[in-house]
Amino acid sequence: MRRTLLPVTAVSIASAALLSACGGSSTASPAASAAPVSAACKQLQSGNPDLVGKTFTNATNPHTPGYEALDPNDPSKYVGFDIDLGTALGDCLGFKLSNKPVAFPALLPTLQSGQADLVISDIYATSDRAKAADFVTYSKVFDGILVRNGNPRKLNGINTSLCGATAALNTGFVEVPLVQKLAGACKAAGRPAPQVQLYDNNAQCVEAILAGRADTYINDVNTVNQAVKAHPGQLGKATAVTLPYSIGIAVPKGKTQFRDAIKAALTEIQKTGAEAKLLKKWSLDTGSVQAPQLVTG
């Protein structure tokens, strides 16, 4: 728990009293496994002694079951592939991670303001986002097209089949400009442009289809699969598409040593097969493993 003096003394006193009375706002990740540290990781730790023993803050948007979400059986914990990957990185480099939940569009501002040290939250490393942070990629991107059962509008990709359809999308997600860009193609085909409804999180997008407000929700294919699993009679996956992005870990600009240490640790984790193992654990596509690349603006 971090406590900082406020300009308003009364508020500060009140807050100190209250904060000490009860638990904090960030939730510690599950205890790191006591797995033996590999030789390569040991070497990384001696090369980055200032990381060892620290607790870093991971900004997460915990609305994507499989990647990051509350543990439905124990809501005090966050679970998912990204959470485990962060723990594995911490184990290798000798630090611990605590998770701080923020809205998706707030992930990078939180990192930039120093309120978080890194972002592992199923965020795609686009060149636009790389202006705000440096990315170390770890996975390819496959999107799924979530539709009502039976796909009544016959959607088959992020293409002109979406003309005239209404898409529920998350604010700040890469799918938003991709769908909006279809307007030109639709117009050329003499059809109305797709409508976009922006929501705050995954659950609200799925609700929008269930409530008949939207025809489709386009997001990471695993997220779509989870939604279909939760509402088998009502929802279906039209198709999966490849997006020209990779999923990345965001680190603050200018912290090149930290960034390079993350990249090296990630390489090591992939080499030992740990990342594939985690993908399997969370029923994600093991084929999406991708050698780490830097994406910087």
Binding site: R2, P101, A103
Partner: protein, 536 residues
């Protein structure tokens, strides 16, 4: 349904309630402190302070709370101030809520009748004492419902802190919905939790309103003494003292003095003639905008003299009385009370409001108003005793004794524990006279003391004033329309018109044989036959 009940008792969400409550408490407590400061700045005489407060209000009331939250959380760190999510959210909530709470404070203070402040000033109370003893306790009652609103608003607004990682109820509900896909059960459960919380706030608000209700006649518990008011005594006690139903019929034994004897008054005239001047008004001008209210007013009143001020409405009588104890500041000219000039230091520079108040208390000019201006939240006894303690530092027991003496003098001992609103107009004015007399003033200024009374209540008040003139030898200046009363009581009548004296002279002479046509016209309109008897 089972899922709904499951979420209703899920510890994860219940902990969220605790965080929501902490955040609400932070926002509300900070908002109250900041809001109080803002309201004080806006009500301040210093223009710079009120401009700053107004600017703050424009910015923080005019921008969405969510922007302020994000600013406190994500922008302040760039300026080197990295607050925890809870502290940042508490700061933003407080900063936002303060603007609304300040308006609640301000409207509460402004909602208190101006006459209450004037009465406090006339009694020599400093602005601080007026705020603490007169305006504050009455304003609180006006503010409770609006503050209850603000508490509910703050609680609901705290849900916006979910945007900056505060693990309160809404953020927890959202995350839980994302991980379980159990959207409706979760939001119904958290909705019920919010309802319970806001319901509890409403209950607190109603309880506070009830506790502050002046009409609630309950035996005062120990905690009531902590409240900034004196409560009326229980109805049972009041009954034992045989209170007349209101409007109270005037009983003969209530009226302390029989009418004056004209001979007696004539006998008084001789020693008065050589006495020192109690009040000296010279060359006083006062205008409001284009309207001239006092135009070179000249008047002197000797110690022990009773002067009746007559004149049509708007002739400047009230303004003159208010100028005498500096409730109005003359534009030019001077007013001396027993040789002292109120409102200015010895070197002629104007005093601060607190300094004026002290000078007023020392000069000893008591004032009685047309509309009584009793302190509505205080019993008759406290109306008299309170100012003695707060202004003249009289010990409590002594103040109470003196207050009871004064109430007896005006024939109202048996109504000592009644609130003003439970007294008839005549009784209220008698309490007001007792209040003005308690500090032993050297001059008593009465501004149309019977004009607001029902005709049948006029006499009881006039009786009291007659007694003061006859027995106490008090210097009095009475603005009145009661010609017969003026004739009976006054040593001298001063007739005003257009802000200056048109004619003055011994009461009987001026009322029966006015020299100036304006005076004659006025007396005629008021029903007095110029050459005949002054009508009853």
């Amino acid at each position: 349904m089972a899922a709904f009940l499951h979420y209703l008792e899920m510890p994860y969400l219940l902990q969220g309630i605790l965080v929501t409550l902490q955040l609400t408490a932070l926002g509300l407590a900070g908002g109250l402190v900041l809001g109080f400061a803002l309201a004080a700045m806006q009500l301040s005489r210093l223009r710079a302070l009120s401009v700053v407060a107004r600017g703050y209000t424009i910015v923080f009331r005019g921008t969405p709370l969510i922007l302020q939250l994000v600013f406190a959380y994500d922008a302040l760190p760039h300026a080197g101030l990295k607050l925890s999510p809870m502290t940042a959210a508490g700061l933003a909530l407080a900063a936002n809520e303060a603007t609304f709470i300040a308006e609640v404070f301000r409207s509460g203070v402004l909602g208190v009748d101006k006459g209450q402040v004037t009465a406090g000033q006339a009694l020599g109370m400093t602005p601080r004492v007026i705020m603490r003893r007169v305006v504050g306790p009455q304003a609180i009652r006006l503010m409770v419902p609006a503050l209850g609103n603000e508490a509910v608003t703050t609680l609901k607004n705290s849900s916006l802190a979910s945007f900056i990682a505060v693990q309160e109820l809404t953020l927890r509900s959202n995350q839980l919905a994302s991980s379980t896909f159990d959207f409706f059960s979760i939001f119904f459960a958290s909705g019920v939790m919010y309802l319970v919380l806001t319901g509890a706030i409403s209950a607190v608000q109603l309880a506070v309103e009830r506790a502050l209700d002046l009409d609630r006649l309950v035996a005062a518990g120990w905690w009531v003494r902590l409240l900034p008011v004196r409560r009326p005594v229980p109805a049972a006690v009041v009954k034992q003292t045989a209170v007349p139903d209101q409007p109270a019929p005037v009983r003969a034994e209530e009226l302390p003095h029989p009418g004056p004897v004209p001979d007696e008054r004539r006998n008084r005239a001789a020693p008065l003639a050589g006495g020192p001047n109690a009040v000296e008004v010279s060359g006083v001008h006062k205008r409001y905008g284009d309207q001239v209210v006092l135009d070179g007013m000249q008047m002197s009143v000797r110690a022990g003299e009773v002067v009746a001020l007559l004149g049509p409405s708007g002739s400047g009588k009230s303004t003159l009385l208010r100028s005498i104890n500096h409730l109005e500041e003359p534009d030019t000219g001077s007013v001396l009370i027993l040789g002292r000039r109120i409102g200015y230091r010895d070197d002629g520079k104007p005093l601060s409001p607190a300094g004026i108040a002290r000078a007023r208390a020392e000069a000893g000019a008591g004032m009685v108003f047309q509309h009584f201006n009793l302190f509505n939240h205080l019993t008759a006894l406290e109306n008299v005793a309170g100012p003695l303690r707060w202004v003249h530092r009289v010990p409590a027991a002594e103040a109470e004794r003196r207050a009871r003496d004064q109430l007896e003098r005006v024939g109202l001992s048996h109504r000592a524990d009644a609130l003003p609103r439970h007294l008839s107009g005549g009784q209220q004015q008698r309490v007001a006279i007792a209040r003005a007399l308690a500090p032993n003033p050297r001059v008593l200024l009465l501004d149309e003391p019977t004009s607001a009374l029902d005709p049948e209540l006029v006499n009881e008040v006039l009786q009291v004033i007659r007694g003061l003139a006859r027995e106490d030898g008090l210097t009095m200046i009475i603005a009145t329309h009661q010609l017969r009363f003026a004739q009976e009581v006054a040593d001298r009548v001063v007739f005003m018109s257009g802000g200056s004296v048109t004619e003055e002279g011994p009461a009987e002479e001026l009322l029966l044989r006015p020299r100036r046509p304006e005076t004659a016209r006025f007396l005629q309109v008021m029903g007095a036959a110029v050459t005949g008897q002054v009508p009853a």
